[in-house]
């Protein structure tokens, strides 16, 4: 029977998913994705993980459960300890393979190469190649092809629209199931949604490093602060910021505070904090977004008549 590699549509899939898929396809391993996050998946994930885990980790558990049901041979869950030199992702992401191993006693084989920035990524790839019975040269070629995979096209923007910048981890900003279709709801109201992926991460990190006395050692955290700085330094500035976080996120508990202080110090731009967890509460969520948008529109009206 054909061996397959399952990739959970969670965590850093949202940044590196296309590259990962290409890598395995080049090695002649069909990729099976879990379906996009939805309420049932979140519920399942919450049941399988420890209560204290944050929403993205619970979502990961839900996706892995789905892949187990789909009968894949392997599940690709890289141990992403650090993606950029001198910084880390988060302890939970670094320990995710162990969390999954504990939660799922019966499961496909986990492929969890360790990725640490500064180490040669090919070492991890060769390790994968050995497990998947592929030669080193094939692995190297597959890696090169995967790296050439770039992101999607940028759409045309309406310059008159209200601009709202979203701040937070990629697996919350880009997972519509996790953030209760936040982007879609904003776009329905003709709002121009700005996200950190519009900037080069290195550029964002440099801005943040210049600004803070001690470097923020979480890559997403540093990028978020850098993104705020980039937006405040350029025109047109956003009309509002929305922090999307999950309840219990350790990194965000500090980064939001740093970010808020920065926004208040350098501008009068309002911000909204949306905290997500597995207890949805979509109606309340929608109400807060509507109220925020109303407020932004009123501010702009007042600004025009002033």
């Amino acid at each position: 029977m054909q061996k397959t590699v399952g990739i959970p549509r969670a965590l850093y899939y949202f940044q590196y998913g296309p590259a990962w898929r290409r890598f395995f396809q080049e090695l002649d391993y069909p990729v099976v994705l879990s379906s996009p996050t939805d309420g049932k998946l979140i519920e399942k994930g919450a049941m399988l993980s420890v209560e204290e885990a944050c929403l993205p980790i619970k979502i990961l558990h839900g996706h892995v459960a789905q892949l187990c049901e789909k009968g894949v041979t392997y599940i690709f869950l890289p141990r992403l300890i650090s993606l950029l030199k001198g910084s880390f992702t988060c302890p939970k992401i670094a320990g995710a393979p162990e969390m999954i191993q504990s939660a799922f006693t019966q499961r496909p084989i986990l492929l969890s190469p360790s990725i640490r920035a500064g180490e040669n990524p090919l070492t991890a790839c060769y390790e994968l190649g050995r497990e998947l019975d592929r030669s080193a040269s094939r692995v190297r070629k597959a890696w090169t092809v995967a790296c050439e995979n770039s992101g999607g096209p940028v759409e045309k923007r309406d310059p008159e629209a209200l601009r709202v910048a979203l701040l937070g981890h990629p697996y919350l900003l880009y997972d519509s199931g996790a953030n209760m279709r936040l982007r879609e709801k904003l776009e329905d109201q003709k709002i121009l949604v700005c996200t950190p992926d519009e900037y080069d991460p290195e550029d964002l990190r440099e801005r943040a490093a210049d600004m803070t006395e001690k470097r923020i050692f979480w890559s997403t955290g540093e990028e978020t602060v850098g993104y705020i700085l980039a937006l405040l330094d350029n025109e047109p500035k956003p009309d509002g910021f929305i922090f999307v976080t999950s309840f219990g996120c350790g990194v965000d508990s500090f980064i939001l505070n740093v970010g808020q202080r920065l926004i208040q110090k350098k501008s009068q731009i309002p911000y909204l904090e949306l905290s997500l967890d597995e207890h949805a509460g979509e109606a309340g969520f929608d109400t807060r977004i509507e109220a925020f948008i109303d407020m932004l529109e009123r501010r702009r009206e007042r600004g025009k008549s002033a």
Binding site: P91, G95, S102, E213, C249, G250, V251
Partner: protein
Amino acid sequence: MIITYPHMGSLSWLLGALFREQGIPFISPPPCSKQTLEVGVRYAPQGACLPMKIVLGNFLEAQKQGADTALFFGGCGPCRFGYFAAMFQGICEEWGIPLRIIALEAPDHDIRELFRRIQDVMGKKARQLPILIAEGIRAAKALDEAEEIVGDAKLFLSGQSEKLQLEHWEQDWRRKAEQAASLKELRMLANEAATTWRSNEPWPEEMVRIGIVGDIYSIIEPFVNFQLQRKLADMEVFSRRSITISRWLKEATVKKLSPLPAAWEKEGGPFLNTSIGGFAKETVGYSAYWSSLHWDGIIQVYPLSCMPEIVAQSILPKVSEHYGVPILTLVVDELTGEAGYQTRVEAFVDMVKRRKRRQIAR
């Protein structure tokens, strides 16, 4: 410059003795209390972990009493501890609190900056740093040993009057330790305690042994864990912690000389072999290690949202299943009620004692 520092078990005694010895003006923060927590909670971000709130409370209470500089540690993550100092700085700036934070770390690997900061604190005496660190670790070891011996002594006393006597002796001794004029004096005091209370009696067979694991602050600072070890001793339970001040200081200052893994690392390896930050490896490793030695139970204590401990918590059920040793997890935050906490500990100890009696009977 008047310095202050955080409370964390015997660390405050060590720092107090060091500063007294070196003639550096300092203020020890008031002992951790509900007020400390209230102050910390008011200024810290809501989602910050409990240790950060308490340490901030320590600093602000000391500042009210005249401190203008606060000493803290640095770190490179990924757990939040390494960013505490930066957060304290931001909060003091935001609220206009006249407190300067000195983080003992080498930012961007700039060792010279670390020495500059130490010199800031200690002046010319900074040159004696290696000697002081060695003295400090020796004193810390003696204090940790004394703590274990005195704690164990409680388990051997059966009479109420004997227990009271020990408690009075201990209170007296603690007062002396808080006022120790030098690291050497602190070490002598610790040795005195060890000599006075050391017992060579064999452990009774039915003595229940419980290992305490979790993040460093929660298991070392009694205010956070509601004097857990004292409570366990009252229930005639022998306990040890996975982290001690002396081991932590040694690992922070002296790189490991031996490449060989310690016994707990070997035992914990199959369950968690990667350093993911904080003390997750210790939590899992010691749980496995003590379970392999047939201890009777493990209690994990950690503050709400502690990232490495959440990972450890998800792995502990596997450890428990493998060795057949029960594990209790207690998550603490500023709203934790002591009564509920006490009930859970008592229930766990009851269960563990019953299991032990059944095992012995067989």
